[in-house]
């Protein structure tokens, strides 16, 4: 039998992670105990939140221990099962981490419909990133027809869904993304009204041009300079779901934030969002977004990297904004 290729955290990165912060090891494939299932990973999701798990700073979850396997959402195929709910060959959504084989408790797994055309979507538009977009936009953003919605990291896993849902809600939607290829994707394929290239455009000038009457909702995946520029153009009653802080995930010292006077002037709010608080909405999310996807009303792109051993470099690229669409590793 083949070995269990694993990617472990070798040390805590300082600033931007490097491949030397990870260690590839080959282990014996583990054996599932009672109530457990052995899965072979088919898809590994790479997401910005993982940078937080690599660090010891205070966060909403414990850090990955040094020499432990990096955590992450996975779609795997059942190769051995000690639970009646799972049979060999079933596909399941789990949290197997950066490894070829994982043993997981059956009650922590979610069986995927064998008719599902794209099982990897369970890690993206029909999974955690999609639900993040859906719940943060609706519960905090509360979009109304005619409002102006700005979405940062607009070509990413969460941003592409949030902006399209904003369009469906009747908003004018302005994306912010890095590079002309992403901006073209955001406008031409996702149907946003415009997309600002943060690498070449002045944010202040671009927002003045694209949001002359101000911004009602800012779906914030990044914080940093984009948030700073948005704060200058808040409309009365503006809402900012704070969903990610990509701009500072590699920071060695926490940068200061924006001056908050605009919140008072506009009676606006910034509210932190974490999808795990919204499990009660998963069924509703899957029904709504699943239907839209089936009806062809949502475009969606994945950025697929082949081979688990390439996960570290792919993750480093994710934090640099190298991906276009949901970043995934397909396990050979």
């Amino acid at each position: 039998m083949e070995s269990n290729l694993q990617i472990r955290l070798a040390r805590r990165p300082v600033g931007e992670p490097t491949v030397a912060d990870f260690r590839l090891v080959e282990e014996v494939v583990p054996t599932p105990g009672p109530g457990e299932v052995l899965l072979r990973t088919k898809w590994l999701s790479l997401d910005p939140y993982m940078r937080g798990r690599m660090s010891e700073m205070r966060s909403y979850a414990a850090p990955v221990a040094i020499d432990a396997v990096m955590v992450g959402g996975t779609v795997g195929e059942v190769v051995a099962s000690n639970d009646p709910r799972f049979a060999v060959g079933d596909l399941a959504l789990g949290y197997g981490g950066w490894q070829r084989y994982s043993v997981e408790r059956a009650d922590g797994l979610q069986k995927l419909d064998p008719k599902m055309t794209h099982p990897s979507y369970a890690l993206g538009i029909l999974g955690m990133p999609g639900q993040t977009a859906y719940c943060a936009l609706n519960d905090i953003g509360a979009p109304k027809a005619g409002e102006t919605l700005v979405v940062s990291a607009a070509a990413g896993a969460v941003g592409q869904v949030a902006g399209q849902l904003g369009k469906i809600a009747g908003c004018r939607v302005i994306g912010v993304a890095g590079g002309s290829e992403k901006c073209r994707y955001v406008v031409d394929e996702l149907g946003f009204d415009a997309c600002i290239d943060r690498k070449t455009e002045s944010l202040d000038a671009a927002f003045a041009r694209h949001c002359p009457d101000g911004i009602d909702i800012y779906f914030d995946n990044t914080a940093g300079a984009i948030l700073e520029a948005v704060m200058k153009r808040l409309r009365i009653g503006a809402r900012i779901p704070l969903v990610g802080l990509i701009e500072q995930y590699n920071a060695t010292e926490m940068p200061k934030g924006p001056n908050l006077a605009p919140l008072l002037i506009a009676r606006a709010k910034i509210e932190g969002f974490l999808v795990s608080d919204h499990a009660a909405h998963t069924r509703d999310f899957l029904a709504k977004v699943g239907a839209l996807l089936e009806q062809g009303k949502l475009a969606y792109r994945e950025d697929v990297v082949e081979g688990l051993e390439r996960a570290p470099e792919a993750f480093i690229g994710l934090l640099r904004g190298a991906n276009l669409g949901k970043l995934l590793v397909r396990t050979a």
Copy 2:
């Protein structure tokens, strides 16, 4: 007849206002037109928001023009009336500004009950500052019994009411104020559980001592260093009504704000508040807070300055935190 003493804005202050930014003039007492009332000011309210009106920075209201009379809430006695709703001798709450006499439209005035023991309370605990405390605490803070509430500028017009209402709601309430006299007032007379002296104590150490399990609600009158320290101790789901920014009202350049990562980690929110949005709650506020006051369940202190000509120095002191309680000018 005596003259109309007025205090006008002579120029826009740079940084902290000085008395030279104001100009005292004596004008002829104006004559009310149809539907108007002439009032002689008895009480002038001095409030931090007035600093914003002196500047041309973007805000929620237009600035006072150079050489115009400074604006402000007033309680005045009717000395002439061209409206059947007001008779000579009536007391009314209005917006007469920093002057001895004002002509105001009758429909913009609110007649005060002649049996009211303290008409000046209409400018404080039963007026704009009291309603700010009531609405911002309830609508944004949403206090629950057992939660920890922090109130900055705790001995001021808004803070003293907000903290007491928090105690009545069953919260542990920690004040922050400047100086030992204020801190004693906050604990001994207002009944807060503790008060941190921002002038002598380390905020981080004091919050660690007084809020070992974190902070659920921060009623923010100041922003700046206190907000920065609070952000390190947010509990899951914390709420921060942003009611004032006293720490930066005299700033010539907008300081940066706190890093916002704690909002995401704690799924917390900061929301700007302006009492004028909450006019629909005025009746409810007056009923609730009026009853509590009558039942002796709310302590309340005013800081009274005698003579309109002393308004500029009193206002400068307000921004320095020199007052204890609601700052008012009694017009001779």
